[in-house]
Symmetry: C2
Subunit: 219 residues, 2 copies
């Protein structure tokens, strides 16, 4: 038995992503799509961001996981506008999932929407969600060879956050090698070193966000 | 334009996996399929295993990555029988890739074949390669919530290796929580705590392998 599928899943996704992008434009919302391996620190990054922008910017969050509401519950302690997407096994979010989730948010009131993609350094890369920027979160303990072994994520990332730099002293992570390999793949990318544990570097990340919001929304 | 695909990719894969399994049986080779997130330490684990079984067991390794020969080159310093599979973007190995790779190995001479799957805690889980055991490598720095957020890997894992336990003292990883969640998903699973950096726990892992080889091959 055979079934038909639409040939170009990505083309189909793209058309939905464009609809999302238009909606975000109309509502003046700057949208970030966070990509990383499992456990690189996306949820911690969101929490630290919410703390630092509390009272300054209205932020909504969409959490993507194959199952559980574990991360959404953590985020809900800080803001009301959280939606959890459970993909049921699929290894990435897609634009249709986002357009459904957005309906549950007070999109008109938001300045920033942060989408935490499924923890996976491969599958989410090719799926445009309608975001303004793809943020790749890599962490020291994953090793400095990630750009060599998972190039597409680093090619597509508008900003690379190197998290858990508090572990640099006790690891053999070669920060020059990591930076060089990324620059080769993506000469325009910016790399910001952070630690969500110590707060180190998060001021630079917050400045980056503020600049992106101003650029997008003139708010 | 539409294209036809075989409905049950997994069924197609399964039939190839069974062929691989038969070949491994005939050649008395015990086969491990290593699954983990990127950077959890699969390659380091293989290297430490090769060092400890050097001169005792003949080991072959198949390295799976979306691109690069980075890991295979590391392994080649220890043994000649290494094959690199580049999936070209696909987020997991499948049984057909393995049957091609095995042709390049001296399978008759091997006691153990270790397959390092693509670094991904989701996609490789459903694809039987013909292995005897699925080994899930989780690492302390990824956080204790991995079984909650990526249950299928832990359900399917015959053995769970918790790597990087040298970082336990400086993290908030709750080892009881981690163990409890795994036992709930997979009551028969065994969890072995290791550090490829300090060597801690690797004797238990080597004993586990030796037992598995004896059980399979009566060698």
């Amino acid at each position: 038995m055979k079934i038909d599928i639409i040939e170009n899943v990505l083309k189909y996704n793209k058309s939905h992503a464009e609809k999302n992008r238009k909606l975000f434009e109309e509502n003046n919302v700057m949208v970030l799509n966070l990509l990383s391996s499992p456990g690189a620190g996306k949820t911690s990054l969101i929490i630290e961001t919410l703390k630092r922008l509390d009272g300054k910017r209205n932020i909504g969050v969409i959490e993507g996981d194959i199952s559980s509401t574990y991360d959404a519950k953590k985020i809900q302690k800080f803001i009301p506008d959280v939606v959890q997407i459970n993909t049921g096994g699929t290894c990435h979010l897609n634009a249709t999932m986002i357009s459904s989730a957005v309906k549950k948010l007070m999109i008109k009131n938001l300045d920033i929407l942060i989408i935490e993609n499924v923890g996976n350094l491969i599958c989410p890369v090719g799926f445009d969600l309608g975001e303004d920027y793809k943020i790749v979160v890599s962490s020291v303990n994953e090793g400095d060879d990630k750009p060599v072994k998972y190039p597409p994520a680093f090619v597509k990332g508008d900003l690379i956050l190197l998290n858990k730099i508090d572990l640099l002293d006790i690891s053999d992570f070669n920060i020059d090698f990591f930076g060089r390999k990324i620059k080769k793949l993506n000469p325009d990318s910016e790399i910001v070193k952070i630690s969500c544990k110590t707060g180190n570097g998060l001021d630079r990340w917050i400045s980056w966000i503020e600049k992106a919001v101003s650029f997008k929304c003139n708010k």
